[in-house]
């Protein structure tokens, strides 16, 4: 079981701040994305965007980053702080 968080415009458009997924380990950010995209057209469309960033355990990640049990995964648009 893994906790998934969404932030910013992505959270707002997807209409969800956090959810959970069941994975077969070792998994990857790419697989998490694919599984989430099966939740409907909106999810598919928004998570397919090239500029969606991801973090695993609060560290910037890429599609290839490994996912193991308990890892916290987050998806968000490019950051705009500062």
């Amino acid at each position: 079981m893994n906790k998934i968080l969404f932030f910013g415009q992505l959270k707002e458009r997807i209409g969800c701040a956090n959810t959970q997924v069941e994975l077969e380990y070792p998994s990857s950010v790419a697989e998490v994305k694919l599984q989430l995209q099966q939740r409907g057209e909106l999810w598919q469309q928004l998570l397919a965007q090239g500029n969606v960033l991801s973090a695993v355990n609060q560290t910037m990640a890429s599609d290839e980053t490994d996912i193991n049990a308990g890892d916290e995964i987050a998806f968000f648009p490019p950051v705009t702080g500062g």
Binding site: F7, G8, A55, T59, A74, F76, P77, G81, G82
Partner: protein
């Protein structure tokens, strides 16, 4: 030291904490970012800063560590506000001390350039046309990439 907080900060206090007992550091560079009235062509009344709690502190800590590996720094202080801010409010503070001014300037710029690209904050502006999320600016990406050459 890193803080992610709703409350405002005071430059005088932060500066004095930076220079306390800094007998060997001759240079202090500070950066403050404020809410501007115009951004990307829109007239801004205020903004809301959303963040990813925990990851913000972690990413800022890592950015500061990278800066300390590159330059001989004394103290480094980073404050980033979250929540609702209005026009002219302070958003971010970066203060760096070093033995030499060049290191202090470069480290302060480096921290801001990386913060703009890697620290998980998102700005939602409130303009006359309503609320809208601020778009990422490619200039910020280029600003970071110059450190990677």
């Amino acid at each position: 030291m890193i803080s992610v907080q709703q409350q405002d900060f005071n430059i005088g206090d932060e500066y004095h904490a930076l220079i306390q007992d800094a007998y060997s550091e001759g240079a202090v560079v500070t950066f403050v970012g404020l809410v501007r009235d115009i951004n990307q062509g829109n007239s801004v009344k205020g903004l809301t800063l959303e963040h990813y709690p925990g990851m913000t502190e972690k990413s800022l800590k890592s950015i500061v560590q990278q800066a300390k590996q590159r330059w001989p720094l004394g103290k480094v202080r980073v404050i980033h506000r979250v929540g609702k801010l209005k026009l002219s409010d302070q958003i971010v503070f970066v203060g760096v001390t070093s033995r030499h001014r060049e290191s202090a300037f470069l480290a302060c710029q480096f921290i801001m350039d990386y913060l703009k690209n890697q620290a998980p904050f998102w700005k939602k502006e409130s303009t006359e046309k309503g609320e809208s999320w601020v778009e990422f600016n490619d200039k910020d990406q280029k600003a970071m990439q110059r450190w990677q050459k």
